[in-house]
Structures are given as C-alpha cells and as structure tokens.
C-alpha cells in the first residue's frame, strides 16, 4: 500500500520540478510569479517547526534517560552516537566550506522576500552577546512556542525534558501526552509534505525564472556534493570504523543490500528496520545490543541528515552571499546537534529540521530555503541510506565495545552473504 502511493508523490515532485524548470526557462516572468507557491510551502514548513522541535527534544531527552537506564550498553551507544553524528555535522560543514557549492549564485535576498531585509537589520541591532543569551529565555513558556524563535523553543524543551526525567514515574502521563502530540504533529507533517510538489514547482519556476538556467548548475552542484560527501563518509569514516571493529564496510553493504533497496524505495528507514535487526543478529550482534542500538540510533545517530544540515545551511549562506563568522558556524553545529534528533521519523523531516537550524542564525535568510526546496527530495534518499548504514555500523561498534561481538561469525556471514540469506529464507518459508 505505502509504496505505490509514495511513488506517486515522488513522481509528482519530479514532474513538478521539471514543469517549474520549463516554465521558468521559457516564461521567466510567469515563472517568477509562481513564487507564492514556494513561499506558501515554506510557510507551512515553518509553521510546524516549533512543535516538532519541542516534542522531539523532550521525548528524546526522556528517552535518553531510558537508554541510560539500560546501563553500560546505553551509555556506550550514546557516546558513540554523539561522536559520530557530530563528526558528520563537521564533515558537512567542512565540505561546504571547501567545495562552496552555493558560491556564484548571487541571490539578491530582496528578490526572495523584501521584508526579510527589514527583519534582518532589526534583529542585527541587539546582537551583543549578553543580549543574545538573555533572549534565549522566552517571556513565557507558551510565548516561546507561539513566537517560533527556535532557540527559545529548544531552551524550554530541554528544561521540560530534564524536568520530566527528574519527575520519574510522576511525569509519565505528561510524557505520554507529549508523545501523542508528537505523533499528531508528525501526521500533520505527512499531510503538509503532500503539498511538496506544489512548493517544489513554485520554487523551481521562480528560481529559474529569476536567476536563469545557470542556477540549475548550482543546485546540481549541491546535490552532487552531498551525494559525494555521503558516499565518502560511508566509505572512509564508517569504513575506517568498520576496519577497527574488524569487518569490511563493502561486504556489510552487500549483506544488507535488500534493506537498502527498501529504504531507497520508500525514502524512509522505518519500513526496513525489522529486517535489518534480524540480519544484524544473524551476523553475530547480540539481541540486547541490536534492539537497543538500532531504534535509538534513529533518534540520535542520523549521519546522513547531519551532513545534509550543515552542507545545505552553508549552501544557502553562500548563495545569498551571507558571511558566516566562526561563532555562527559553531552555533549552527550546536543547534543542529539538537534539532537533528528524531528528524528521520518522516520523509521530509530533514527539511523541517533544516528550517529550524536556519532560523537560529538570523543572518541567513530563511527564505533562502526556497532555493533548495526544489531539489530537497532528491537528497532525501541519500540521507535515509546514510542514516541506515550508520546505524548498522553503530550496532557492531557497540557490540564489539561490549566484547559481545562474534567477529568470526560476522566475517563468515559477510563473506558468504548469498548463502546466509538463502539459509535465512529457508526456515521462514
């Protein structure tokens, strides 16, 4: 049921982008006039940022408590998750700085949104460091959620999360309510994402209409840079980790190729999780580790999403000729570490967390998101695949660290993957 539906949406986005490019190329003025469709979609996305961030961070912190309760394994898993996903963020940042995929786009922000200049300058006024810190504390708890300042939302979310875990069992009903709200919000995200073709059409028609066909080169460069970076991350970073643990990353990829194909087809990792967990157990990772690391990895260890976040942020900054200081970059890193948690739950979640991260640095115009809206979909597959591989590797790392990984069996299984998967199917049939 899911797959054909998804395919339709994907084809829709594809066709919408193509139609947008054609319209923008042949009728630039009509193309520019399509801007409200892109704007509307971005407004929809921005509308749900605050609740998404609040719910995921609160639930994430509460879950972190649960993970720690599992003891040493949980602690090691969290430590690994944080190091590798931070590394992914840093890599995205570095690649963005070196390759400069957005350079030369020269987007005039006032054409994107005339009002943004005004807000930019007014925000820049109170830029002293103390003011900035004080501003993180919202006027009221609810005001933070209504105002949509993402740092304020993060602040109250972290407070709430820690308060809830300190409350213990007394906090469980509240946590359950927030979890229910989270589900509702994610369902709304799903509905909003159905409007993605319209938004992508408007954004592409406007981009091509306003900046000419040359802008496609910039966008393609972003997509290519992202794919290359993700590939290198898997082969080099995860490959190196795999080597240390004692197996070959390429063989692992071959071993889980069926699951990777499912992820590719659905652009969401959830559908392949059960199959992945079964395979990891067969390859010698103990059940306890698998059942802890794989699901929690989907909240805490999103390597692909993280590379995308910093890379895309830099792309937009470069395209709009926004100069970022070192403080800005550190800030993006810090905020992305928080907002990326739980982003993988739905297709398109990465786009929402990107919007959240962008809001934090007022110098980067959020409306610049219109630029990458058209091509976002084509990067979501790659995000999901990288996230998926990252968590498979994470499982073996934690298992090895615990000294519970059967390395001999692992290598035997990876070497004879064909045979093993045949054997797996036999008893199931």
């Amino acid at each position: 049921m899911r797959r054909p539906f998804y395919k339709i949406l994907y084809v829709q986005v594809l066709m919408a982008v193509a139609a947008g490019v054609l319209l923008g190329y042949f009728f630039p003025h009509a193309g520019e006039a399509m801007k409200p469709f892109g704007d509307g979609f971005i407004k929809l996305v921005k509308m749900i940022i605050a609740p998404v961030v609040f719910c995921t961070v609160v639930v994430g912190i509460a879950n972190m408590g649960d993970v720690k309760k599992v003891g040493r394994v949980g602690g090691k898993a969290l430590l690994y998750f944080e190091s590798v996903s931070t590394l992914a963020l840093v890599i995205g940042l570095l690649v963005g700085k070196i390759v400069q995929p957005g350079a030369g786009f020269n987007v005039d922000v006032s054409t994107l949104d005339p009002k943004s200049i005004a807000t930019f300058t007014s925000q820049a006024h109170h830029a002293s460091f103390v003011d900035f810190l004080l501003h993180i504390i919202p006027d009221t708890l609810v005001g933070a959620l209504a105002g949509g300042d993402i740092l304020q939302v993060l602040f109250i979310a972290i407070l709430t999360g820690f308060a809830l875990s300190a409350m213990g069992s007394a906090g469980v009903p509240i946590l359950n309510a927030i979890k229910a709200a989270e589900q509702l919000i994610f369902t709304i995200v799903g509905i909003v994402m159905r409007a993605a073709p319209v938004g992508a059409f408007g954004a592409m028609a406007f981009t091509i209409g306003a900046y000419g066909l040359a802008s496609i080169a910039n966008l393609l460069e972003l997509v290519a840079t992202f794919y290359a970076t993700a590939l290198l991350f898997v082969l080099l970073v995860l490959g190196l980790i795999a080597r240390i643990v004692g197996f070959n990353i390429l063989k692992l990829l071959r071993y889980i190729r069926e699951e990777l194909l499912i992820v590719l087809g659905t652009s969401s990792s959830e559908s392949a999780l059960p199959a992945l967990m079964r395979k990891l157990e067969q390859a010698g990772a103990p059940k306890g580790v698998v059942s802890l690391v794989v699901p929690t990895g989907y909240s805490f260890n999103l390597d692909g999403t993280n590379i995308y976040m910093t890379l895309a942020t830099l792309f937009i900054a470069q395209a709009t000729n926004t100069h970022l200081t070192l403080e800005h970059e550190l800030m993006i890193l810090a905020v992305a570490m928080l907002t990326s948690k739980g982003a993988a739950a739905v297709a398109g979640g990465g786009f929402i967390t990107l919007a959240a991260t962008l809001e934090v640095v007022p110098e980067i115009p959020v409306v610049g998101m219109a630029l990458i809206l058209g091509v976002d979909r084509f990067m979501s597959e790659c995000r999901s695949l990288t996230n998926f591989v990252g968590n498979a590797v994470a499982t073996f790392v934690v298992a090895r660290w615990e000294g519970e990984l059967d390395v001999a069996r692992l290598n035997a299984v990876l070497d004879g993957a064909e045979e093993e998967s045949g054997a797996r199917h036999a008893p199931a049939a």
Binding site: P36, K43, K46, M47, V142, A180, L184, I188
Partner: protein, 445 residues
C-alpha cells in the same frame, strides 16, 4: 461507520451545561439582555458623558468572549472532522465555500441595488474638501494591503500555536482542519488526543456558560456607550442611510435567507426565535463574535453535525459576512451620491470585485467592517476616501444591523450546508424550532 455523530459521551456534557443554564437563569436570558440594552439606551440618552464612560464594560465582555472562541472552534472542528474521512471534510469545506461566495455576492448586489433605487445620499452635496480626512486616516493605515496572494498566504500562521494567540480565525480554522484530518488518519493512535480534546471542549463550554450570565451587563455597557458617545442626534442627520440599511438587512434576512430556509425545509422566523438569545447579545454588543460560543452548541443540538458546525460557523465569519457586504456597497454608493461622484458600470463592477475580497475576514470584529470599507475605497480611486468620514459618526449604529445579519447568515449557512451534505437531522431541527419559547432540552434536568 466513521461518519456517525459524536459518541454519546460527548452529549451529556453539552446538554448538562445547557440545562444548568436554562434552569437557573434562564429561559429569560433574552429578556434580561433586552432590558439591559434598553437601560443602556436610557442611560446613554439621559447622561451622555456617563454613558460614554461605560464603554469598558462592553469591551470587557467582547474580550471575554474572544478568549474562548479559538479553543472552542478548534475543539469543535477537530472533534467533528476526526470522525470522518479527509475527503468528506474537504467536500463540506468546498460546499461551504460555494455557498459563502454565492450568498455574499448576492448580499453585495442587494446593497448596490437598494442604494441605486433609494439614493440615500442624494442631496448632500458635500465636496471632499469639506470633509475631515484626518478622521479616516488611522483606519486607512490599519487596513492590510489586500492582495489575493497576501490573503491566501496569511491563512498559514507563523507557528501552529501562534494561530491561537493571534486573532485571526482563518488561521485557527486552518490549523484545526490539519489537526482534524491528521487525527482521522491516525486511527486508534489518536484516541487519547480525542479524549483529551473532549475534556477541553467541556471546559470551554462551561466557561461559555459562565460568560452568558454577564451578557446582559455587556449589552448594557455597550448600548450606553453608543448612545452616549454618538448620541441620537447623529442618527437624525444620516437617518435615511441608517433606515435604508436596517430595512435592507431585514429584507435580506426575511426574503433571501428566508427562501434558503424554505428550500432547506424550515421557517426563518422560527429559526430567529430559536437563536434570539444570541441575536440580542450580538445586537446589544454590536459584535458578531459574542454570539459564537453558544450558537455553535445550539446548532449542533438543532441537528447539524459537529463537523459542519465547526467549519461553517467560524468559516462564515471570515467568508460569509452578508450584513457587512450589504453595508459595503450601500455605503460606498451613499458616499458617491453625497459627494456627487458618478460611477460608470465598469467602476461599479470594480467596486463589487474589490468588496468581495476586502469583506473577507471583516465579519467578526466590531469596527473591522469600517476598515473593510476604507480598504475598498483605497482601491477604487474614483470614490473620495475622505467621504468615509461622513459615515464614521454613525458606523456603530450600522454595525448593530450588520452584525446581526452576519450571525443570521451564518446560522442559515450552517443548516443549508448540512442539508446539502444530506446530514441535517430534520427531526431534531423541527423539535428545536417548533417548541414554544424555550427550546427543548434533552431530558437530563
């Protein structure tokens, strides 16, 4: 199966609240409001300064009502939609919009036709230079630039929560629709949320019950202010305009809305009797919003399903301001006639099209109709903007009539859309409308 009316557990709370109201205050609420409003008129006429000083009382009541409108609309609409398919909700919304557009265009045309026939502004012979353009200026600044693009984009709130903290009911509708459709697709996972919302709805309803008790006070303060501040003298000067508007609104309700009611199978007069409490409160406070909290459960009781009530009543305040529309074309032509401006057929058509857009969102809040008038005038350059100063003095009197018409228009719209959907419970409707003085309460007293 999913399209069945709300589960029984929601109903006792509703009827419980209502019966509480009716037994302790009430059967006589409308009498209280009427007496209070007349007292207000007397105070305003006898001691104008004192009457004008009573303005905060009326304002406070409207503010109190505004407090609960957003949560009320959210609960009603989400609970109404969560039980049905997204497609069904979409169809109701589509039909409501079709109905809104037809009726509000009709209202614009009626205002236009009456103004052309009666010529309430003829013989004034003022020149724009004689008018106090400064008095209009603040309103001209207040009006948001009306472009279709801006209007549509403004439906999307800044954040989901800011829809509720802001005053724009269209944003609340939008978020509620999204949440309702999301809940209906979540299935059992959404049950806890639905249960929680039912609680919240009960809370809001009992809040509304408390509010009703101070409604007479609000009507008293508002009427004392209007008469004290603007005086009966103001009425004399523009008497023909006021009279024309009141009669036109009345004829619109009885003839146009009456025909719609007849088509749907009920009598407009009986409907007016059924909602007399709300009408008097709206008349007293000259704010259409003050009718919402009790009108919504009342319409549900009269056989309109929750989803329709939740969509059409608040949606109607944004899109179906019949009374405001009549007022818009009537007063624009009044200004033209008074200042000796001739409008060609094409210019009249422009006025119509512009007014269709500017009247959106003007139905709810007192004074926003005047802002809509100003925004229409700024677009139609042929009519002198300063001419609006002529009307400013009596706008509050005109406001009474248009608010009441807006409320009646939306009540009829709700029943008409429900009928069109084939989900109007005619038995419940007639049971409610036909009973004498007090409408029947489900036996729970």
């Amino acid at each position: 199966m999913r399209d069945t009316p709300p589960p029984p557990e929601a109903m006792p709370a509703l009827s419980c609240r209502a019966s509480l109201l009716r037994t302790s205050l009430l059967r006589h609420l409308y009498v209280q409001v009427l007496v209070a409003a007349l007292l207000g008129v007397a105070v305003g006429a006898l001691w104008p300064a004192f009457g004008a000083a009573l303005e905060p009382i009326g304002q406070a009541f409207v503010k109190l009502v505004r407090l609960i409108i957003n949560p009320l609309v959210f609960c009603t609409l989400v609970l109404g939609i969560s039980g049905m398919h997204g497609a069904a909700a979409g169809r109701i919304g589509g039909r409501a919009m079709v109905y809104f557009e037809i009726m509000s265009t009709l209202a614009l045309l009626v205002g236009l036709a009456v103004a052309l026939l009666v010529k309430p502004g003829a013989g004034f012979e003022v020149t724009p230079g004689m008018l106090d353009a400064g008095a209009v200026a603040p309103y001209a600044q207040a009006h948001a630039p009306h472009t279709l693009e801006g209007f549509l984009l403004n439906i999307i709130p800044q954040t989901v929560l800011s829809a509720f903290t802001g005053g724009d009911i269209v944003q609340v509708l939008f978020v509620s629709l999204l949440a309702g459709v999301a809940l209906s697709s979540m299935g059992t996972a959404g049950e806890p949320i639905i249960r929680a919302l039912r609680r919240v709805e009960q809370l809001v309803f009992s809040f509304a019950g408390i509010l009703l008790r101070v409604a007479p006070l609000g009507a008293f303060g508002a009427m004392a202010f209007v008469i004290g501040k603007f005086g009966v003298r103001a009425v004399e000067n523009l008497g023909l305009l006021i009279l024309t508007l009141y009669i036109t609104e009345l004829v619109f309700v009885l003839v146009v809305l009456g025909s719609v009611a007849r088509l749907c199978g009920f009598s407009i007069l009986k409907l007016l009797r059924y909602i007399k409490d709300e009408l008097l409160i709206v008349l007293g406070t000259s704010s259409a919003e003050t009718g919402i909290p009790t009108l919504m459960p009342k319409l549900e009781r009269a056989g309109a399903p929750k989803a329709v009530v939740g969509l059409v009543v608040p949606g109607g305040y944004a899109f179906n301001a019949d009374g405001t529309n009549i007022y818009l074309t009537l007063s624009i032509l009044f200004i033209c006639q008074a200042t000796g401006t001739e409008l060609s057929f094409g210019q009249l058509a422009t006025v119509l099209v512009v007014a269709m857009l500017t009247s959106k969102g003007a139905g709810g809040i007192t004074g926003s109709s005047f802002v809509a008038l100003i925004s229409t005038l700024t677009v139609v350059h042929e009519v002198p903007l300063a001419g609006a100063a002529l009307i400013l003095g009596v706008d509050r009197f005109l406001s009474e009539a248009r608010s009441v018409t807006n409320v009646i228009g939306n009540t009829v719209a709700t029943l008409a859309v429900a009928k069109w959907e084939g989900v109007l419970d005619m038995e419940a409707l007639h049971a409610c409308l036909d009973s004498p003085a007090a409408p029947p309460e489900p036996a729970l007293a």
